[in-house]
């Protein structure tokens, strides 16, 4: 084998598990040369490391605090050259079935050297898994949105977002501090975060928790029009006539 060593990032919340993977990568170096570029304890740490140390492969545990492996895999897709993600898991029948269906690569812990070598060999010709596939594997909605800003992946905690508004090609996510452009569709966001955001208009979703009230904004065709007021930002978002009954119900007005 005279290929360039793969740059590998190991992500697991348990120190012995990280050590084990590093040992194994050393053991199989003769057939699958690799270089460990970093060790991270969760998805957020991994993304920070990837900014300065690009990797070809991320070995990511599925169950981790702060940010789990599936969410991490979705965010790395925003990188210019997304690394391949190989999931590791100790035991989770249901997750494994889902991963089989999505044709993503996963390793069962304790990982065997032979199996790891096979996965690395496959990585060299593998395409990244599509975000839609990963969304189907997720145990729940993401905890962060991600934005690629000048080569860096910026994470925006979903809990900080007050509203989402569709504008031409992008969706604007507004936090109390600033706006971010998300490369996603409003319909998908509405589905993924049905519990958190409520649709008030064809082009906007607002965070239920941020709503402080509604205000009458005038009349149209003899019917009252309403705006929704949000905590932390001065702007008001119009509620469409079509959404008004649903919004009233959801907000308990």
């Amino acid at each position: 084998m005279n290929e360039a060593p793969l740059r590998v990032l190991i992500v697991d919340d348990e120190a012995p598990a990280r050590a084990r993977l590093r040992d194994l990568l050393g053991d199989i170096a003769a057939t699958q040369p690799s270089r460990v570029v970093g060790l991270a304890a969760n998805g957020v740490e991994a993304l920070r490391l990837l900014e300065s140390e690009p990797a070809d492969v991320v070995l990511a545990d599925i169950r981790m605090p702060v940010m789990d492996g599936v969410e991490l895999a979705r965010h790395v897709l925003r990188l210019e050259r997304p690394p391949a993600v190989i999931f590791t898991t100790a035991y989770d029948q249901y997750a494994i079935q889902a991963f089989e269906l999505a044709a993503t690569d996963y390793l069962l812990k304790p990982v065997r050297a032979q199996r790891l070598a096979e996965s690395l060999a496959r990585v060299r010709r593998q395409l990244p898994v599509a975000d839609e596939m990963l969304a189907g594997l997720a145990a729940g909605p993401r905890r962060h949105f991600s934005v690629n800003e000048r080569g860096r992946i910026l994470l925006v905690p979903v809990a900080d977002v007050l509203y989402l508004r569709a504008e031409l090609k992008y969706v604007t996510a507004r936090t109390a501090e600033r706006e971010f452009l998300l490369d996603e569709s409003l319909v998908q966001l509405e589905q993924e975060f049905a519990g958190r955001f409520v649709r008030v208009h064809r082009n906007s979703l607002v965070a239920r928790a941020a709503v402080t009230g509604v205000e009458r904004a005038g009349e149209q065709d003899g019917e009252a029009r309403w705006d929704v007021l949000l905590a932390g930002v001065p702007e008001r978002l119009p509620i469409s006539r079509r959404q008004w009954p649903a919004v009233r119900q959801v907000l308990g007005l």
């Binding site: 919340d13 598990a17 702060v66 145990a139």
Partner: protein
Amino acid sequence: MKSIKQKPDPILPRAGLPDFRNLGVLLRLLLLVNLFAIATVFVRVDEPAAYPLAFIAMAAKVELPLFLALLLLFALQPLVERLSARNGRIAVVLVALAVAAATFPLLRDGDASALWRWLAWAAAAAAGVLLYFDNRSRRHSRALTEARLMALTARIRPHFLFNCLNGVLGVIRADPRRAELALEELAELFRALMRENRELVPLGEELDLCERYVDLEHLRLGSRLNMRWELEDCPRDALVPPLLLQPLVENAIYHGVEPSSQAAEIVVRAERRSGEILIEVDNPMEPGERHKAGNRMALENIRERLMLFFDLEAGLEIDAGGGRHRVSIRLPYRRKTP
């Protein structure tokens, strides 16, 4: 030959004879006999308008002998317990007959009632009650076997086993001594799990097992796992169902420590409060924590086993809120009879 002819655990319903000192048994007895009395009134009286008076008359006749019989059975429990199942049943019927006969002169209304009818009713009530408890214990002994089987497969999460093995493999090169220790602990843990866990064990043993388990979890979780044991006022000889505590601590780690990015503290409290033992496992809970199914299953398993061992005298409560999750268990303080 003592080891072969072991006396079965007195707390479990044995051969159909209930424990007359158990609150649940006493309540059931009261209820059953009163239902029987009500049924009798329905059979004897045709006129619906006469029911209220008939009920009162019946209650006047039934309650005093019933309470006397219960008191007597409560007092005689240690003796009844020693009899064979058949003789025990006969003894219970005899107690009922004796009480009925003794109270007959006091409660008879005129010459209308005859002693033999009075006695027949008492015997029928006693037989009915015995039949009920016999049936119940049969049903429960089957449930016990099932619970044991279920417990064997569900008690330790496969998740734990594989993570633990992975942890051992992770330290085996850097710290072989630690890996050795962990495997020894794992062996001990599995020995306890695969035992026939049919009899109550001292709380002290259960706590030792938990400490071993926690030590294994420390291997992979490191400083993220903090344990606080508050066991000053706890008698280590109190008898508890085997593997009562370990699944609770396992749940606490799975839901409280693993999803948390910071160090999390689990508190295990045990104390004696008059005739009861209170045990609590308290852990932090992430607001959005998912995977609730396994948690519920383990708790249901424990609740069922408490019911089988102690009937209504034990209980399990869950108190979640304010970012913490607390399971409290209350059970009667019993010790091994020397």
